[in-house]
């Protein structure tokens, strides 16, 4: 539910951009600037990469006494109010009404969202890059052991986050409508986000989440390219891919790209 609300938010405010939606409220505490995030490379070209938060920052894996002290810049991001009409609902009702399905229903989503005023917190990149120039990562750090085990994972650093400035309520409404003399059960599921003015929830909802002020709903990362001696660089351009300096593998199994060629498999894990 939270994941859907944040994904809708980015679809509206940053389509095709670099911001990544936060998919779990549980990640809010660990999502701090300079936090380490593991990016799992996609198997196939159509997939979006997945991110997993580590509960440490880059300072925890630097060689001793090499801490980074970034300058943080804060600014207004946007006041966000969106309504996502359920464009398929009417059509499907018509079709199902005519075809009188006995199916157990279908889940369709209508979202109406307002995260209120949002703030952007970001690291001053120029200063960060300058300061990081002489630093090295301790590759013996226990935190890195598991990341290094998986060859299709890339270490990233959080450099920007979008946070709420008001309490918000995310609610899910599941409605079951009986049609055609009870022959058809049509289930619709809606996810709504609204600013909580007085802390009261008046809607008749099946599930309600209240998210507090300062909750991150989106973030941006920079990939790290880490050399065998621990020196590292931030990948500032899209063409530059992060990772660890080492051999290669891939996990395509038997699947046949055939004439699709790299159309299906363009991204080979490094």
């Amino acid at each position: 539910m939270f994941a859907k609300a944040t994904r809708n938010f980015l679809r509206d405010t940053d389509p095709g951009g670099d911001l990544i939606p936060v998919s779990s409220l549980n990640d809010s505490d660990t999502l701090q600037l300079l936090s380490l995030v593991v990016k799992k490379k996609k198997f196939w070209c159509w997939q979006r990469p997945k991110y997993q938060f580590l509960s440490v920052t880059i300072n925890d894996i630097l060689t001793k006494d090499q801490f980074l002290n970034p300058v943080v810049v804060e600014s207004d991001f946007v006041k966000y109010e969106g309504k996502f009409e359920d464009v398929v609902k009417g059509t499907v009702e018509t079709a199902l009404g005519r075809l009188t399905l006995n199916a157990g229903g279908l889940g369709l989503v209508e979202s109406q969202s307002s995260f209120g005023t949002l703030r952007k917190q970001e690291v001053d990149l120029q200063q960060l890059i300058r300061e990081a120039a002489e630093r090295t990562i301790n590759l013996q750090s226990p935190v890195l052991h598991q990341v290094l085990e998986h060859k299709n994972e890339v270490l990233c650093v959080v450099t920007q986050k979008i946070v709420t400035t008001q309490k918000c309520v995310i609610s899910e409404h599941v409605q079951i409508e009986e049609k055609c003399g009870g022959a058809l059960g049509l289930k619709t599921k809606r996810v709504e986000v609204s600013v909580s003015e007085d802390g009261n929830v008046t809607r008749d909802s099946n599930v309600v989440l209240e998210i507090p002020t300062d909750t991150p709903i989106a973030f941006r990362v920079l990939e790290l390219y880490v050399k065998e001696d621990g020196q590292f660089e931030f990948c500032l351009l899209h063409e530059k891919q992060g990772g660890f300096e080492r051999g290669s593998t891939d996990g395509r199994d038997h699947l046949d790209a055939g004439i699709f060629g790299e159309f299906i498999f363009p991204f080979v894990p490094d």
């Binding site: 994941a3 409220l25 070209c45 159509w46 398929v88 005519r98 075809l99 889940g107």
Partner: protein, 233 residues
Amino acid sequence: SVDGKSEAVKLTPVEGPLSALKHGMLVLERNFRPFVELSGHHRAALCEILWEVLLDDELVVALDTVLSDVLAGGRPRLWALPGLSPGQQQQLAAFLGLAGLHVQEDSRVRRDARAPRELLSTAHFLVSALAEMPDDTVALMGVCCQLHLIPTLCHLPQVTSADGVSELGDPSLAPLSDAGSFEVVQKLFALSHISLERREAHVEAVIMKRPQYLPLVLYITLHGLCALEGKAE
């Protein structure tokens, strides 16, 4: 190879008739062969649980996460997945069991040594495409399953001309003659950046501008579902 790359560029979905996809349909059928080769009982069970999963897009995403983790060499825990109800976890476990995985008592997922690796990667191939479909598309796909439209939709690129036109008189397209079914398919295609219009005795299917991977993702899922329904032979 350089030649392979240029061939791939030619096949990337671009604005134009749906028939542009037909050259890739054989590849997709071949990739879903492990589904077709399952026993009838196994395939029916997998198909049934997938229909349930299609009604819950959060479950699709969770399934994709677990399968990706396992294929990357991990042993994920079902109860570590955020926001899943016990009922959803049961559905997830049922699907994983049929895809060749075993959920242990501590909820860790591991591979069943007896199950063929091809089945697992084929299941992931399908689920990863489902997980990338836009909101509502998965539910519409579920409706198409219930309306038995999947084989028709798989066949559509094959009978579409270079102008994007296909004749409704073609027996394989008969289900599209029904106005209700057509509307569902039209919406499903629109969400996948394919325009589908009916003009008296024919339909016109055209991939829209900047389709990204959406038409491909749609056809991967259609072929996967078709193979599971046993209609791919």
